[in-house]
Amino acid sequence: MRATRWVLGSAALVAVPWIAAAVVPGQQRYVLHVLIFTALYGALALSYDLVVGHVGSLSLAHPAFFGLGAYTLALLATEARWPFALALPAGIALAAVVALAVGVPMFRLTEHSFAMGTLGFAIVTQVVATNWVDFTHGPLCVTGIPKPQVGALRIATLPAFYWMGLGALALVALLYRGLTTFRLGRAFHAVRDNETLAAAASIDPLRYRMLAFVIGGGVAGGIGALYVSYVGVLCPGELTVSLSVNLLVMVFLGGVGSLRGVLVGAAAFTALPEILRMAPTWRMVIYGLLLLVIVIRAPDGLEGLMRRASSRRRRPASSGA
């Protein structure tokens, strides 16, 4: 029963380009574009939640890792003419290595200081991306980033990018699942919930935090690389602090530390501006207020609501609780 639902669900997701073409013929491109962003944002939010939701380190450095992967692919593909199959792993590797190098001093800081330190790193990265004009082109942006090509397979059409995004999301979701369940996941949660107790049980908090931080950074780099190869242009503005805010909204709106919650959060977040159709500035005001209300009033996010709803369905007798 569960397996059939899975297969049907996956088949429906893969078939979306044809479904969209049949249901909304004039809008197919637009729908696919929104869905590509949803998939990439979903994968990025999962990589972020690995750090925030599972080891409890409130990092604000994620835009920097996203940007590192994005710039690596953009510059290697345009200036050095590297093929996509080499530039993508290079982006992931560089983001992960930088995460490791930044993590060493940062994890000496705790709580607020860690958040502030990582925010500082993100700001410095953006300052460098804006000012090192000879290398990053600064505000002139990197343009003409070629479409990905692996062997004979060329990803150039919207459906192809959609499948690429979906594949990336599936891979990241699998990785997320694998890392956060089993023994490793329990170690992550032990570190998050009680650092002292974890250390006493010979679970080294630093090692597990670092592991989540580096993997999260690497994945963010990979998503950054995919993102620029879809968009084709990369400007320093992509690395701003507001990306961290977007990720926080997605993760907290959906439900911290939950695969389903984060994916729902990312989908709701990407759909929201399409529904609201507002100027970007008003959008940020609304996100800010939304985030404020969520963390204060509903810290479990939508996942908390869904869980309550499903438990009510399962046990209709004990509705008093």
Binding site: A115, G120, V295
Partner: protein, 289 residues
Amino acid sequence: MSDLLEQLVHGLTLGSLYAMVATGLALMFGVVRLINFAHGEFYMLGGYAFWYAYVELGLPYPVAGLAAVAAMAAFGLAYERAVIRTILARTWHVQLIATLATSITLTNLAIIVFGTQPKEVPTRLSAAILEVGGVRMVWQRVLVLVAAVAIFAALEWFVAHARLGKAMRAMSQNREACAVVGVDVQQVALATFGISAGLAAAAAALVSPLFSIFPDVGALLTLKAFAAVILGGFGYVRGAIAAAFLIGIAESLAAGYLSYAYKDAIAFVVMVAVLLVRPQGLFGRRIGI
């Protein structure tokens, strides 16, 4: 040589600005153990309040400055009642995200209300030049330095002798004990936010004639002030003030002799470098105002 002295004067001005903002952060942290990520936005709003009073209403400079301080102190009180009080009992994650969310909301509201074009607020003092032994500086910088020293002296007296100041000091040492002996901890927390926001507005009224006011001025400022708070030893106000001046001077020397574009990275680099050697900050590990 005179070039170096000029850079030092610039550094001291910057240091005064960072110190006034960092003092507010350190006071809040000392009294309620909360880091206010929206503190730079208090400075930003203070700057706009000052601009409105001075340029739009045409009030004289001291009156406009005091009006901005009063307006922001009231804003600080409202912020404590509306946001801080609801999150004080929550985890630091919630507190951090809530104040960060406030910061984003305020910045973007400012963009909508005032536009992204920076506001310039020249005063008579920011055009008049003082020359001492070959070192040229505008009088406004002298005013900033004198006012900063006066404000810090007043604050020092306030915390040491005034009833409220003593209560703040006591709360930074032991909140429960304060409540037990009858200190109204909520009122003290409220007053702390008023004072901290007022300090940020005072900084804005003093330095706005030198630097312009724009909506996202706050983000970097919070970061630098926070760097000063970490370097000074968490919650230790005098340490934060000293570290703020250190950062201001390092930044202006770096802007003068290394690279202007990368000056904003300096505070951060200094912070990381110090923390690698002394994770407890420059001035020991003492919590308390």
